[in-house]
């Protein structure tokens, strides 16, 4: 009885801590992600997630035509590399950008010519990160946009 009580309490606290961790991460991107210059507006599609080394998240967003976008990633200092890939949903998840090929840069700017769904794939790779670290930590994705001036 005592052992089952301890196990129950342990599981309860673990569940609580994971939930609290996810909640603590909710606005992480607003506090830690690189921001673009003042000509961009914050996009509410920005988000933060809680990940471990080796884990991946997909953030499905919509981008409008003739609009410039800025996407940046940020994470807890224990994570040295965050892999950001931008996939086109309609083209069979074609990879349009992969920061692993660019020394894991933490931001990218792009102009988009057709309204579409994109997938921002966020991975905490084993490459460059401590594989023995099993803790979930915050990873943020900031999206900002502006009207493409060349379109007018």
């Amino acid at each position: 009885m005592r052992i089952s009580g301890i196990v129950f309490l342990f599981l309860l606290l673990r569940a609580f801590s994971q939930e609290a961790n996810a909640q603590a991460c909710a606005d992480y991107h607003t506090r830690a992600c690189p921001i673009p210059d003042f000509s961009y507006y914050y996009d509410q599609q920005s988000t933060s997630v809680s990940l471990r080394v080796g884990e991946k998240a997909e953030v499905n967003i919509v981008v409008f035509e003739l609009t410039d976008y800025f996407v940046s990633v940020c994470s807890h200092r224990k994570f040295k590399n965050i892999n950001l890939r931008i996939l086109d949903d309609a083209s069979g998840r074609k990879v349009l950008f992969d920061n692993a090929a660019e020394s894991y840069v933490d931001s990218v700017k792009f102009t988009n010519n057709a309204t579409k769904k994109l997938i921002l794939e966020i991975l905490v790779p084993e490459e460059g990160n401590d594989k023995s670290d099993t803790r979930e930590r915050c990873v943020g994705v900031l999206v900002a946009k502006r009207i493409n001036v060349d379109a007018f």
């Binding site: 673990r14 609290a20 988000t47 998240a57 499905n60 940020c74 965050i82 950008f97 894991y104």
Partner: protein
């Protein structure tokens, strides 16, 4: 004694897990090495996000679009919503109306509609976002369309962040549904001329992407009948959108410019919008909007 120690250890462990302090931007300077990322992270956490009403209206707005005051939800309705979920839905509706007003520079209505948002936000527990101070900003900027636009955008973003941070994503789903339905309603009543207004129609049909993401976001909260009904009403709109024959004209590709910026081109989709489909879309949007905005 042993049990107590175990409990204390567990509590310390749990609290330590909560601690996300000391965070800072990650180190950018890494040596590049080839790594097969496809073998990692097979299990994904999937999140769905969608543009805000102000962004959609900014996008849809073309020279063809005109200001139709009669299609806004009358502010007199706000006092007649008594169910908290209906109040939340209409908070999204009025937020979309406010964004629409600011985009069309009809400044005289801006303050009235913001007052209505403030009232519903109070009932929704969001008075810390839409507060007296912000109302004073709206009143002080009644002649400044850029400031009003920024207030509409920022206040909505603040609300989304607040609801996410406080774990009220169910409420966010309802408010967002109200915003989407209202934007579609305002846009779809602009035209019946499919040929003359193809550019506008295409932009309206582009909203199927955001609506699809919203439906996926909402699918986590359909455990009660009211939410399930709302989900199915949105899904019905999406189903009509998806009846249109869509053909990808060219494959998406990314090219890099001189300044290092990327250009995502291609991926254009040619839609064959028929009068029947548009009429059906209009009917389902009007019915859905009427169902949730008609005072009880």
């Amino acid at each position: 004694m042993r049990t107590r120690i175990l409990i204390i250890v567990n509590i310390i462990f749990a609290l330590a897990s909560c601690n996300q302090g000391g965070e800072r931007r990650r180190n950018q300077q890494q040596e590049y090495k080839e790594v097969d990322l496809s073998k990692q992270g097979d299990a994904s956490k999937i999140f769905y996000r969608f543009p805000a009403p102000k962004d959609i209206i900014d996008y849809i707005k073309t020279d063809q679009l005109i200001y139709l005051k009669d299609f806004l939800n009358p502010i007199s309705n706000a006092d007649k919503y008594h169910d908290s979920r209906v109040q939340n839905f209409n908070l999204g509706v009025y937020a979309a109306d406010f964004a629409y007003i600011t985009v069309f520079k009809t400044l005289s209505e801006a303050s009235e509609y913001f007052g209505t948002i403030e009232k519903l936000a109070y009932h929704a527990g969001l008075s810390s976002i839409f507060d007296e101070q912000m109302r004073r900003r709206v009143e002080a900027n009644e002649a400044n369309i850029d400031s009003l636009g920024a207030i509409a955008r920022n206040s909505y973003n603040d609300m989304v962040n607040y609801l996410t941070l406080t774990g009220n994503e169910r409420q966010l789903a309802i408010i967002s549904a109200g915003g989407y339905v209202e934007v579609l309603y305002l846009a779809i009543n602009q035209t019946d001329d499919l040929e003359a207004d193809y550019s506008l129609l295409r932009k309206i049909y582009d909203q199927r992407y955001g609506l699809e993401n919203l439906c996926n976001f909402m699918s986590d909260f359909t455990d009660d009948q009211w939410m399930s009904n709302l989900y199915h009403d949105l899904q019905a709109i999406l189903d009509v959108f998806n009846l249109v024959d869509a053909k990808i004209e060219s494959e998406s590709k990314a090219t890099k410019g001189k300044g290092g910026e990327l250009n995502f081109s291609g991926g254009n989709i040619q839609l064959s919008i028929t009068p029947e489909n548009y009429a059906k879309l209009k009917r389902v949007v009007v019915e859905t909007r009427g169902k949730y905005t008609s005072p009880s």
